[in-house]
């Protein structure tokens, strides 16, 4: 086996077959699952499936509550329609409430049409679905007498489509961007997250050699290039392990979400060209930053100093997010194109532009080529920094020396 691969395999096994890694691996999906679960739990607590009573003293509501010609629209708008029960008197409704047959009852007093005031009686706060569906019923019944088109339109609610300027992307405003449409951005963010996570591994990969004083033994066994290249490959493999594991969790979550009938997961169709573009940029971008982290780790005198310098690089990754309004205004502006091809910023820029338009292939190709060249250069730089800087305990490495200018 090539020595570079030996280093990579060793680095991978040393980190992955540890309890701390397993905990890190599980912590993120567990946290997300817990957060989502908590959200669903809180949401479910806000809904109440029990019937709702209505005492219509004003005679506003029809007997069926929902006009027959829009029953189908109603079913689409409300996944789980509640049962509404009409009561002749307040007393009958109260008895039903006390018997726990209904969660609450609404009273439309005789003077409702003039005052627009109604009463709600409950023992415990009714679910939000009860409020929402009752007001929808009331609104539809108040439209009685209007043309069927008007009633139908009102029942359907607001619906429009957001279309990109170039007409290549459409987002239904009512439902928002679909999961599939957001996928390139999710992938870009996953790369970014992975990068943040693995930079710690990269720093420790270098720092450990310093701490263990193994550097001299290593550089008299293999070349700096093999050592650093192997370490970077090892860290990349660690990160991919995390990514695959988390992707598996996401797929499982989507499956469960679809089985549970969560609407957001219903449309998974995605633009594979956009996904491939983000992945193609993400891999060399990741290698580039990992190599830079290695170089920084070898150049600085303390880990704290290294974290300060690396913080600047991380901040640069978030620049596209700060100016996302610019991409929304014009996804093909000069700034957008420039940030799409520049290393560090290209990943998030392309990921975000994909929301609003299709990034031209030539820009993606240029970006990938630049990323690969920069990644190779960074590996070379990292190997030199390691070679010259690692034995300089307590001394900062001169940039001129690093670049071979001294």
């Amino acid at each position: 086996m090539h020595k570079l691969w030996r280093v990579a395999v060793y680095e991978y096994r040393r980190n992955v077959f540890k309890k701390s890694f397993i905990l890190t691996l599980l912590s993120l999906p567990c946290t997300i699952a817990f957060t989502i679960g908590l959200g669903f739990f809180m949401e479910s607590r806000q809904d109440n499936r029990r019937p709702v009573g209505v005492v219509d003293q004003a005679g506003v509501l029809s007997a069926a509550f929902i006009p027959t010609d829009i029953v189908s629209v109603w079913a689409v708008e409300h996944d789980e329609p509640l049962e509404f029960i009409a009561f002749q008197t307040n007393e009958m409704a109260r008895l039903a409430l006390e018997a726990n047959e209904i969660q609450a009852y609404f009273i439309l007093p005789e003077h409702y049409m003039s005052t627009r005031q109604l009463e709600v009686v409950y023992l415990q706060e009714p679910g939000e679905n009860a409020w929402g569906q009752f007001y929808d019923i009331l609104r539809l019944n108040l439209l009685n007498g209007q043309s069927p088109e008007t009633v139908y339109r009102a029942a359907s609610g607001v619906d429009f489509i957001v279309r990109s300027i170039d007409g290549k992307r459409e987002v239904p405003a009512a439902s928002g961007p679909t999961f599939g449409l957001l996928m390139p951005l999710f992938i870009a963010m996953a790369f970014l997250f992975m990068l943040l996570m693995s930079s710690g591994y990269t720093m420790s990969a270098v720092a450990d050699e310093k701490e263990n004083r193994t550097v001299e033994v290593l550089v008299t066994s293999i070349s700096s290039m093999q050592l650093i290249g192997g370490k970077i490959l090892g860290v990349v493999a660690i990160s991919l392990t995390m990514l695959f594991a988390w992707t598996g969790v996401v797929i499982l979550g989507i499956f469960i979400g679809r089985q549970a009938g969560v609407g957001w997961f219903s449309n998974l169709s995605m633009d594979w060209r956009a996904v491939i573009a983000v992945v193609a940029i993400g891999i060399p971008a990741y290698v580039l930053v990992t190599a830079l982290m290695t170089a920084i780790g070898a150049m600085v005198t303390t880990t704290q100093e290294g974290q300060s310098v690396s913080g600047i690089f991380f901040a640069l990754h978030f620049v596209p997010m700060y100016i996302s309004w610019s991409f929304l205004n014009d996804p093909h502006s000069s700034l957008a194109v420039l940030l799409s091809v520049l290393p560090i910023t290209s990943l998030m820029t392309v990921g975000m532009r994909n929301l609003f338009t299709i990034v031209p292939t030539w820009q993606v190709i240029i970006s990938v080529v630049i990323q690969i060249m920069c990644a190779l250069g960074a590996i070379w730089l990292a190997s030199r920094a390691f070679h010259f800087g690692i034995l300089r305990y307590g001394q900062r490495l001169n940039i001129r020396r690093l670049l071979g200018l001294d």
């Binding site: 086996m1 020595k3 001299e216 034995l391």
Partner: protein, 300 residues
């Protein structure tokens, strides 16, 4: 044939001369001692030799030419800064370091087992390195240096942290490797071990060569005009003896300039004194070291 040939190398750090115009050769199959006081430039010299650093000037030939990647597998190096992965199991750590020298794991594993037995580390192979004592780690480091059967071994202070028993084990190993024809460059402060093991030495001070040559010749060169005698009888009346000094079980007779050791021996024989031991008094390497470092340059 020279295994290492260093010619006029110099190395400076921030205007400080770590090594200055240093030249020496290491013959194939010899044990070569690299000596000098702390901060003399020994470690820098070794790092230059092994291409860890590049010299500012001068040339280095190692294993018949400049240092290249392919030669790394033929060299074993134990640096002054001991290097083993503290959080890794001993056996795995040593196998990994050996694998970087390009040795197949099956071959390494068999040889490693033998060395672990020899160095009494076999029962500790499943422990993390950090759980081992300093002496055990030192022995593990030595195993790591020789496991891939190098032609040239460079060891920086190999006897540090070892108890007398383990010093003997390492010493025996050095002799065994020497007999097998392995070239050894050894940097140490333990002069008695240099006397026991080394064929030739280089003493450097402030980065410069102050003493270089065969150990016997150097000691001969530094021998004073004196003899060591263990005899039964009165030695005070021997002519030409300037001073009589106790020396372990014997006495050291310091002669005047006109008297030769042979004259003393003849005088002892003529007086009927029973002589158990008679030898030319050679200085210890410790004495030579102090004399040279404190007194200035001297080439053998």
């Amino acid at each position: 044939m020279q295994t290492v040939e260093v010619k006029h190398i110099s190395k400076s750090y921030n205007n400080t001369h770590a090594v200055e115009d240093l030249s020496f050769e290491v013959e194939q199959g010899e044990i070569f001692g690299l000596l000098g006081p702390n901060g003399a430039g020994k470690t820098t010299t070794i790092r230059l030799m092994l291409n860890i650093f590049k010299p500012d000037s001068g040339t280095i030939s190692i294993l018949d030419g400049p240092m290249i990647e392919a030669k790394k597998a033929r060299i074993g190096y134990m640096p002054e800064e001991r290097g083993l992965y503290q959080d890794v199991l001993l056996e795995r750590c040593l196998l990994y370091l050996a694998s970087l020298k390009g040795i197949p794991e099956r071959e390494t594993r068999t040889r490693l087992g033998e060395y672990l037995e020899r160095f009494e580390l076999a029962e500790h192979k499943g422990k993390k390195v950090k759980e081992l004592s300093k002496g055990m780690q030192q022995k593990a480091q030595i195993i790591s240096t020789i496991l891939h059967q190098p032609e040239l071994i460079v060891v920086d202070e190999p006897f540090t942290a070892l108890d007398p028993l383990n010093v003997q084990i390492v010493k025996d190993l050095m002799i065994e490797l020497h007999q097998r024809g392995v070239t050894i460059v050894m940097s140490t402060h333990q002069m008695h071990l240099v006397e026991e093991l080394c064929d030739r030495i280089l003493l450097i001070d402030q980065g410069r060569n102050v003493l270089y040559g065969a150990l016997d010749e150097i000691r001969q060169h530094f021998s004073g005009h004196a003899v060591l005698v263990h005899a039964q009888g009165d030695l005070r009346n021997i002519q030409g003896v300037r001073e009589i000094l106790p020396h372990n079980n014997a006495v050291k007779l310091v002669l005047d300039d006109r008297t030769m050791p042979q004259d003393v021996f003849k005088a002892l024989a003529a007086s009927g004194t029973k002589v158990n031991m008679f030898e030319i008094a050679l200085p210890s390497l410790d004495e030579i070291f102090i004399q040279v470092v404190e007194g200035g340059e001297m080439h053998a």
